[in-house]
Symmetry: C2
Subunit: 391 residues, 2 copies
């Protein structure tokens, strides 16, 4: 098996993982993997493989040769680490015509078997199937997606270094948030949002990991408040939270700090205690080698017993995406997901969140979300948020 | 044809357009349209139809009855304008199980013909086809997408009012940008990015339309600079630009202001003149009733003749998406796109950008991008950017 050696540009995939990818292609009898990334559907596997941040089509042959059709060729010249760039402006700006040249004159396998992920757009797969009826596109995109999930779930040392920096920027910004909350009077959710953004930029973040969710007690019961931050007063009596993270060289952190303002009522006190208990249960359950669904279950049991439900997984991986593999979630309940589900054990290289919460209309919501990393045989807690009481 | 009357909540689609949608379903013999919106693939048609901003599955029957499976039920209760909400937490958090209840006990059409758009994920359509083999999902998602494009291309008065506010916020912020550029010494791209964000928030923007692209002369030749803004000095001698917009109640503006700093060389002067000429050519060509591809051609001819190529369309609509219908682009060159292409004439309700640019490695890039609206029979220029020279 011939492997194309990579150049010295920044890229996330290691040669070791590339070998796993090529081995998978061999087992599945795939001649090609095709990854598309566009404004309408972002596929981080694209950046993971070739380093190019955004917008284009990437081909990887069974021999490991990579070809990129970027939307912005100038950007690709500085960012992409591939063997070949095809410039679609030379093909009447048509990605179909560019791809045709690739299939017919470079790949030269008229009936090639092609793997695509579940993140490809339905309209795109139909367009390619219609224009290249001789090519065989996989009918099981979930298989390809699961492979990428597996590859990306364990981070390389280089990736872990970047994630440590991304989490440190968020962790250091906690002091600014708590200072803001302690002194807040009429300041708005938006004021806190800007404060966090500017402080993280000063600490080296290239961007937010995602728009910070800042919710006062009137909005904190929604899972992802909308809009992200308003001009309403943040420090209203009750339950409030800010969910935020830093992006550092493409890698993301994600944490939530909660607050209680003033005297909270009995149900709100119960929510505070249950959230803390659900969080502690997860942390106490964590050990290397444990199935991830068991960590999820530890928290969920606490919540369920107290009458709360949480329509999201307890935690998720961190990486190029702020919602990366692995997923700390329950075993799937429907047959389709069961088919592609595999038990994942906590292992070296996992970087992830734990984020239980309680949400109740008319009472508000609370969440404790911290970031963890398994490195050198140890589970390291990278951030230290909680529920902060302010009289 | 029975039409479900809408409640008084904010929603973009009008009853008149809903009738067109139902008429289309009748012609295409569709029992149901299904729209999915998730983190991995945003489909603004979702919000357009039901007002719920994000994350869920929406069903619209041929009779106009709407059912929503939201990820966040609490958010749906305040935002969604639908006839029915199904809470997936009551179905073991499985959207498949929730959908099964909908198909079997509410829709009750075992062999229903279902329209989905090209923005659905390939993995999702495979999942639904596998789990519900008796249902017939369309093999022509582009037809459904084209219909939504047509509906969304012309804005209602309510939508135009929101877009006027979104463009006004951006337009008013130009004075801050020019003041910054005139006085800039060592200030960074990031400093300008923050300035624009805070000024637009103070003027009522709920968010940025998209992360502002701020590029000094070393980066302005790329189409979408990456990262969006860096700590590098903005006012370096040469060509620089900022591409930004405001989001106001869900609706987006999008403009670009360019700068020349110091003495620019002959080629850079030529780029400035060509960009202006290409922009003027488009504006002079615009008139109600003209095919949009002709406006694109007017600019492109100027650029091509001068040896420049532009791998994007001259302009795009503005709306719930910052890249909305209609598209001011050339006639398609590949057979697949030709199949679904229709000539669109400039008409009442169109709100769009015109944004020609010139880009050249080692010289930089320039773009003039302004927003226009056709209202009450007149083409109105809503914003007034250009290429600003700073000695």
């Amino acid at each position: 098996m011939e492997i194309t050696l990579f150049h010295d540009r920044m890229k996330s995939i290691t040669n070791e993982k590339l070998e796993l990818l090529l081995k998978f292609m061999e087992t599945e009898k795939l001649d090609l993997i095709m990854i598309t990334d566009s404004e309408q559907s972002r596929d981080l596997n694209f950046q993971y493989i070739c380093g190019h941040p955004t917008d284009g089509i990437l081909f990887i042959t069974a021999g490991g040769e990579t070809t990129l059709i970027p939307w912005d060729t100038a950007l690709a010249k500085t960012e992409a680490d591939v063997d070949r760039i095809l410039d679609h402006t030379q093909y009447e700006y048509s990605t179909i015509k560019t791809s045709r040249d690739y299939f017919e004159n470079i790949l030269k396998k008229p009936n090639a078997s092609i793997g695509v992920s579940r993140g490809m757009l339905y309209g795109e797969i139909i367009r390619f199937e219609t224009m290249f009826p001789e090519l065989k596109f996989t009918k099981e995109p979930s298989k390809i997606s699961r492979l990428f999930e597996e590859l990306r779930a364990t981070k390389s040392n280089h990736e872990m270094d970047l994630l440590m920096e991304a989490t440190k920027i968020a962790e250091d910004t906690l002091q600014d948030i708590i200072h803001f909350a302690k002194n807040a009077t009429t300041e708005s959710e938006q004021d806190l949002s800007f404060l966090v953004q500017t402080k993280m930029a000063k600490r080296g973040a290239e961007d937010l990991a995602f728009p910070s969710l800042v919710a006062n007690t009137n909005r904190s019961h929604t899972l992802h408040c909308h809009p992200y931050a308003t001009e309403s007063q943040f420090a209203l009596p009750g339950l409030a939270l800010i969910d935020f993270g830093a992006k550092y060289k493409g890698y993301n952190s994600d944490i939530t700090q909660s607050f209680t303002f003033g005297d909270i009522n009995q149900e709100q006190q119960r929510m505070r205690d249950i959230t803390q208990k659900a969080y502690d249960a997860a942390v106490e359950t964590m050990e290397i080698g444990i199935p991830l669904w068991k960590i999820n279950k530890a928290s969920m049991d606490v919540l369920t017993e107290a009458g709360f439900s949480m329509p999201y997984a307890l935690g998720h991986g961190l990486g190029l995406s702020e919602h990366d593999a692995p997923f700390i979630s329950k075993k799937p309940t429907d047959d389709f997901q069961k088919k592609y589900w595999k038990e994942v054990l906590l292992e070296e290289g996992h970087v992830f969140t734990i984020e239980p919460g309680t949400y109740k209309e008319d009472f508000g919501g609370l969440r404790i979300e911290n970031d963890f990393m398994v490195r050198n045989g140890k589970i390291i807690q990278l951030t230290h948020t909680g529920i902060y009481p302010i009289e």
